[in-house]
């Protein structure tokens, strides 16, 4: 059965609601259910529930990763449809790539480039990526790799402050 709202995804959430004494059934996909607020009355989502059951030691879900700069999560972005800062493009990179491909049919800028500070911005983008990598490397206890990344971060920060 397809979702009643988007008519695209498979309906995985089935809700029976009673409105004014009339019983009504709703069949939605998870995304639409979340968007319409149908899921907000629950403290868990089916996705989390399944995730907890099947992979007890799974790393935090993508939707719960917070941008260290602006503090928003990807699911918060999905509700607001607005990002919190420029770093989000690096922090939520893989999710955004999928979204951009859908919206624009492309993931690579082909237009104007500011004539200033191009090199600096490249370095800053790398810095954001490295900091994110560092977190996951530390969690997986790969300390050798972590030291390597930390060195690179230090030297980049020095270059950028100069």
């Amino acid at each position: 059965m397809n979702c009643e709202k988007c008519h695209k995804n498979h309906a995985t959430i089935h809700i029976t609601a009673a409105e004014g004494g009339v019983k009504r059934e709703l069949h939605l996909c998870e995304e639409c259910a979340r968007q319409t607020g149908a899921l907000s009355n629950f403290n868990f989502s089916i996705g989390n529930l399944l995730g907890n059951l099947m992979e007890p030691v799974k790393s935090p879900k993508v939707s719960q990763v917070r941008c260290p700069e602006c503090g928003i999560t990807y699911s918060e972005f999905k509700t607001k449809a607005r990002l919190g800062c420029a770093n989000d493009y690096e922090v939520f990179r893989s999710e955004l790539l999928r979204l951009l491909e859908k919206v624009h049919g492309s993931i690579q800028h082909a237009g104007k480039t500011p004539h200033t500070v191009d090199a600096q911005i490249r370095k800053e983008n790398e810095l954001i990526r490295l900091k994110r990598d560092l977190d996951s490397v530390v969690k997986s206890e790969d300390f050798e790799k972590a030291a390597e990344i930390r060195d690179r971060i230090k030297s980049l920060e020095l270059e950028l402050n100069r």
Binding site: A86, L99, L100, I107, H109, A110, G111, H115, I121
Partner: protein, 350 residues
Amino acid sequence: MKVEELLSQSGEWLKGTGPESDVVISSRVRLARNLHRFPFLTVATPQVRSEVERFVRPRLEEGKLPRKLVYWSLGELTSVERTLLVERHLISREHEKAEGERGVAVGADEAISIMVNEEDHLRLQVIRSGLQLDEAYDEIDRMDTALEGSLNFAFSPQFGYLTACPTNVGTGLRISVMMHLPAAVLSKQMDKVLQSLQRLNYTVRGFYGEGTQPLGDFYQVSNQITLGKSERDIIAELKRVIPEILKFERQWRHKLLEDEPRRLEDRVWRAYGILKHARRITSEEATDLLSALRLGATLNVITGIPHKVLNELFIFTQPAHLQKIERKILDPDERDSVRAEFIRRRLEGL
């Protein structure tokens, strides 16, 4: 310059002289830009908002820019004045309604305006009369490049100019062509136009942009895709699409003229009669009748009414304009009388 002074002039884009002005009212281009290192407005605290404004404002007022700009802080304006800026297409409805530090810098001929702290830190726009996409883009590009001299914009080599909403990322460029399509509407052909435009990834909006209803047969067609194409590509594609719509509208205009000349004449002259003699008129009715009159004027069903006058009447009969002209707050009933009188006078003066 004060907001009121806008009443003694009208925007360059209203003069109705640009290319294809029988159908195209205006060409608008806008660029979305954010400042490097500042959070987007989605999460910005009041302090950050005022920091952005304090940082940007002097740079917009600086004399070195290609156009001299006057800055208005929206918090210092009355709600009527802010609405007047919306009616002039100098700011968006959202910007008018929003709270916190925000403003707009406007060029003397109203062709260029830069909103500060709207959805993105900066929203630059240029409007020109008729179909002038390259000219409008050249002007905004010059301003953007000049601002780059003093402002560091958030940019990534992969994603381009970084915007709060990923639907604007990349070029940050939205081009909107405002068209008057009364014959397509009258002949019930608009659905066809809308459907084919949507298939080509263009959005169609009403007179005042996002979320507004088509008013007086005016439609704004804009590009949806901002990433993966250069600015010139986006313009080139629109330059292929718009002439198709123009051809379509003109064909239906001539068909109306040939097949049902009496019906057309009656509609136009009836509109003229009401506009010239009514004592009370709502904004909706005025827009509807002015639209019919504009169609009549382009087909020479009626002569002696310049496009400039008609274009201006659409704007000057909006609520905030009338209240500024009368220098007092008017309730809707009073506005209807003032509006009728304003139109009557303007048409009598021709």
